[in-house]
Symmetry: C2
Subunit: 325 residues, 2 copies
Amino acid sequence: MKVGILGYGNLGRGVEYAVEKNDDMELVGVFTRRDPSQVSVRSGVQAYHVDALETMKDAIDVLILCGGSATDLPEMTPKYAADFNVIDSFDTHARIPEHFSNVDAAAKKAGKIGLISCGWDPGMFSLSRLYAMSVLPGGKDYTFWGKGVSQGHSDAIRRIEGVKDARQYTVPVPSALDAVRSGSNPELTTRQKHTRECFVVAEDGADKAAIEKAIVTMPNYFADYDTTVTFISEEEMKRDHAGLPHGGSVIYTGATGEADGHKHVIEYSLKLDSNPEFTGSVLAAYARAVFRMNQAGETGARTVFDVAPAMLSPISGEEIRAHYL
Amino acid sequence: MKVGILGYGNLGRGVEYAVEKNDDMELVGVFTRRDPSQVSVRSGVQAYHVDALETMKDAIDVLILCGGSATDLPEMTPKYAADFNVIDSFDTHARIPEHFSNVDAAAKKAGKIGLISCGWDPGMFSLSRLYAMSVLPGGKDYTFWGKGVSQGHSDAIRRIEGVKDARQYTVPVPSALDAVRSGSNPELTTRQKHTRECFVVAEDGADKAAIEKAIVTMPNYFADYDTTVTFISEEEMKRDHAGLPHGGSVIYTGATGEADGHKHVIEYSLKLDSNPEFTGSVLAAYARAVFRMNQAGETGARTVFDVAPAMLSPISGEEIRAHYL
């Protein structure tokens, strides 16, 4: 299958690596809103200006959209679903129904598939929640994120006056994790679940106390958390905080039997050295399913909930059953 | 949807509890090869002799088969797939292809769905393996079982002369689990992955040394493991080993990026107070999918790999997307 990547940031690069790992996929090109002559594609595949997609409708089986959720994807996904099978990682939870409906209309009209909100959360974590609550109705689910870099929180710090660079780690509170894993179904506040660790490079002569105060009191982002701020040098930032690790756990507890006397704990957890490369890998696997669903005559919007697991694998149904069931 | 349970042992009772938890399901009856007047069904639902199924083809949407894999299911599942949508927990891995093909032929001919090998392993663990290897091709998967009671191993001990009762726990080796979780991809022998703890009630005057030797040297079951044997009283057995807990972990490690420099660890784990009740809960959720697939006109054999997760939930697609994605 022929794959195109639209958007060549961290996620686009992650998809590029993933496509190389899948022998049944070929990367046709990387599409960018920048001047393509200024974009150096690691694998040597050609970079095109996004407008070139107009003339490449038959050259691409699935277009993987690697834009941001805030402003890019709400426009991009319905737009390109009118000409291509598409997949995105839209993660603004509150706007998913609206986005789904926009993509559904465009994709149905075009006879294409548009799979939205793919990755690990939303994505693999959502699957874990759905499987668990379907098997054990009436249970309780907990999601912990980290330890990992939150790009949104890092950006929020960078916008503070006097901040040159920043990296924010979301860290689950070990005692909260233990309590949930024990099956005791604790009620946990935001503050009890995660702490936030911030590493900040200040501009020369900046007021560090003011920066720290601006961070820890920032509403939505930090005010509801126990937040630590550590000032470091540019060299330390580069040396110790260059990666984009992430991960987390979905833990679901439910009960069965006489008077719900038997407890069960289901946990799905990820420990990722590279958030964008793992997300890119999930997108690539689901791109395969998108192509297959469309080949089978399906059209419209889809999410990970609608995809039978066998559709993700290049291995035949017979082999999967024989070796992996 | 109307559900029938065929076989009323531990698993059948687990399914009965699960059906009660699902408001869209109604238990029509329990079917048994025993004299139904001797079978007391906990929920008060009627017990029928298995022959009564002949006359109840329209009264049951899905028949959940709770027989054993060794001799019951290879015959039972194709037989009943000729008249009912069926689901089983067939777990003899080597015979899955043959079983699938027998059920497929019968179910296709009858216009029914037969979903085989459902539960947690095969079942939820199989899904975890498939998802992980589809997302991160070329990685390595490890499955650890326990701590939990292995019925097969307990039965094997009970067949030894002088043994009155026995309970065998499969226990994963903590250092092996740690090594796998670290992402170091160790090569592990059978002995390095699990130990086996046996609790045995001996007959009065039995030769305990002989029993112990018979256990630890038993080929396939114990010879390849570090096995401990503890003799206990009947009272201790009843007091401390009445439950059927189980669980385990599927751990998958893969890599992405430049020279595979970024490692990722995916883990799915279960900690279950009651193995048969959890397995019964998985069967009930998949019974819903079986019914829906057949309602949509699908026929033939299926496994968990073929079922889109949304099919398992009583919640509408719209609600799932809005609240659980």
